[in-house]
């Protein structure tokens, strides 16, 4: 078997900013002393005059971006998800969301795969926070290909977008010629009739592996990649629920308020269906290397497989 190419979506984000930045001269990137970690340092190297380091002051950075956006700039603000969405929630809500300003929030180091830094830096609440803001688009790409497409789509979209990226290198799963990214449109990665696995971000690749394991047991799972959690592709979610009768959601986020919450809200109104939510079970994470952490909290292929087997 050939080696699978792996790259962290934060790195893809930094690369994508440079690519898109070549076309959009009004694209500017703001950091809060984390350019090396968020990988926007790649953009800084390419366009030093369009990179603004605001120092360790995320709330001010958010307001600066809002002001820049009122004058026609397209600002990307970057920090760890904990600060970009958490510390900053009210600034994002009032200075960006309410005036519907064209600011893009590139949040890296989301979820427990942050690893060694521990629970203080492992944000499992950002999707829930961001998707409650009216007019906010929430995107969580699963790999390098999707991240690059998502950054471009975010720039082409007029209005605020929250982009969620990870620290851990993840396999490239979308490098096929017919891959097409459209905001708000889910992607069926695998057909199956017994149940539907709906995943976002890093666990998408794990779900494909879990589906292979289930297939060996005679369970055929449909796998849907929901890169855009808001607006949710409700048509696809409802159709899949009706088709397979069971739905499993998988995310590197709290099972409260994130993808699982969004899917349950839709299905309970439009097509009541039993749903198993896999994610962080209302718990904080802990320090450790990312891969063993994902294993401990059941977010790798084996954990996802085991939870689904126990449920069906």
């Amino acid at each position: 078997m050939s080696e699978v190419k792996k790259i962290a979506t934060r790195e893809s984000y930094g690369n994508a900013l440079v690519e898109v930045g070549k076309e959009y001269e009004n694209l500017v990137v703001l950091d809060a002393d984390l350019a090396a970690a968020t990988k926007t340092g790649i953009f800084k190297k390419a366009f030093p005059e369009r990179h603004i380091d605001c120092g360790i002051a995320e709330c001010n950075m958010t307001g600066i971006a809002a002001g820049l956006a009122t004058t026609g700039k397209i600002p990307f603000i970057s920090s760890f998800a904990m600060f970009a969405a958490g510390r900053n929630f009210e600034q994002v809500r009032n200075s960006i969301g309410y005036p519907h300003l064209n600011v893009k929030i590139g949040a890296t180091h989301a979820g427990i795969s942050v690893g060694e830094d521990g629970a203080s830096h492992q944000c499992n609440e950002d999707i829930a926070l961001m998707r409650t803001i009216p007019g906010m688009v929430v995107v969580c790409p699963s790999d390098d290909v999707e991240t690059k497409a998502a950054v471009r789509a975010a720039v082409e979209h007029e209005g605020p977008v929250y982009l969620r990226f990870g620290r851990l290198a993840v396999p490239v799963i979308n490098d096929r010629p017919d891959y097409k990214f459209e905001l708000g449109k889910g992607v069926v990665l695998r057909e199956g009739k017994d149940l539907t696995i709906i995943a976002t971000g890093l666990p998408v690749a794990e779900c494909l592996a879990a589906a292979d394991m289930l297939a060996k047991d005679g369970v055929n799972a449909k796998v849907i990649n929901i890169h855009t959690i808001k607006p949710l592709d409700t048509e696809l979610v409802v159709a899949a629920a009706k088709e397979t009768g069971k739905v499993v959601t998988v995310e590197e986020h709290s099972i409260i308020g994130g993808l699982g919450g969004a899917v349950c809200e839709t299905l309970s109104e439009q097509a009541p269906t039993p749903v198993l939510r896999i994610g962080m079970n209302d718990k904080f994470g802990e320090s450790g290397a990312a891969v063993p952490l994902l294993h401990k909290y059941g977010l790798d292929a084996e954990g996802i497989y085991n939870k689904i087997k126990a449920w069906i």
Partner: protein, 279 residues
């Protein structure tokens, strides 16, 4: 406009403030009245703006960081011709575009939505930075309350403005001395305000009477001439200015006058207006 014209305009703007808040049965008259001269000076003298083209790209910008004093901004914008003065009585009412706090999406002339304290100054820094990045010459003004500067984000923004030498930015602090819970020095003293901004690498101008147009003119002229650093104008004002029972009375921070009080307030303002006509 000469000084007398500015004074007469401010008097009309004050009537608009009191009328709007009375009609809304809610709102913030005290800090709107303390800042009326600075609103008037900015929109009738200082800023490069065009009410017929509220979004013209090279306009000067104003961010009302102390967004609760929206009645002051709205009355000024209305009297400057951005929208009809009659609309002021729709303030805070269902269906009106005159939201309780400034909204750039709905209100002509509002450059930034605000109301959550401490955030407007950051947006103003972003606008000033944008002008620097694009080599544009517009200037940016932002008005803060003296209570508002208790918010930590104000000092994040001040550090940024100083570090970036945003000399196209003027931060104005309306030092009327009162916040909802009482005197600012009793609640959590922000004094000395001037030394704080100096420490953040601002050129600081203390204005002894921020309700006096001559002193405001001198301050804004000095700010315009200041290069290489942002300017902070710390102006002493009278909260509730020109309405007898509201002056320096914290109870009128966020309370609307009833019908009887409204009549007294308007009579007070008429008297001020008449005195100006004698000049």
């Amino acid at each position: 406009m000469n000084k007398l014209e500015l004074q007469k305009t401010a008097n009309e703007i004050r009537k608009g403030i009191v009328t709007a808040v009375h009609s809304a049965k809610a709102g913030h008259p005290g800090g709107s009245l303390s800042a009326t001269e600075v609103f008037t000076y900015l929109y009738f003298e200082e800023m490069n703006i065009d009410p017929k083209d509220p979004k013209k790209p090279d306009r000067d910008r104003f961010v009302l960081s102390k967004g609760h004093t929206a009645p002051g901004l709205y009355s000024t914008l209305a009297h400057r011709g951005y929208f009809p003065v009659e609309d002021l009585t729709t303030l805070r009412k269902l269906g009106s575009y005159l939201q309780g706090h400034p909204s750039m999406q709905y209100i002509p002339g509002v450059d930034m939505s605000s109301g959550s304290l401490g955030q407007g100054i950051s947006a103003a820094c972003g606008m000033a930075l944008s002008a620097k990045l694009s080599n544009e010459s517009y200037r940016v003004y932002t008005l803060l309350g003296d209570g508002e500067i208790q918010e930590g984000q104000v000092w994040e923004a001040a550090m940024f403005a100083g570090a970036r030498k945003l000399d196209n930015l003027v931060v104005i602090v309306d030092n009327n001395g009162l916040q909802i819970d009482g005197r600012i020095e009793d609640v959590c003293s922000p004094y000395p305000i001037d030394k704080k901004f100096e420490a953040f690498n601002f050129h600081v101008i203390n204005v002894a009477d921020g309700n006096d147009f001559d002193q405001l003119k001198a301050a804004f002229d000095e700010a315009r001439a200041t290069k290489g650093m942002p300017t902070a104008i710390i102006m002493k004002t009278v909260k509730g200015k020109d309405v007898s029972f509201m002056e320096n009375n914290v109870a009128w921070h966020g309370t609307a006058p009833n019908d009887e009080q409204y009549a007294i307030a308007m009579a007070d303002l008429e008297k001020v207006g008449e005195a100006l006509c004698q000049k």
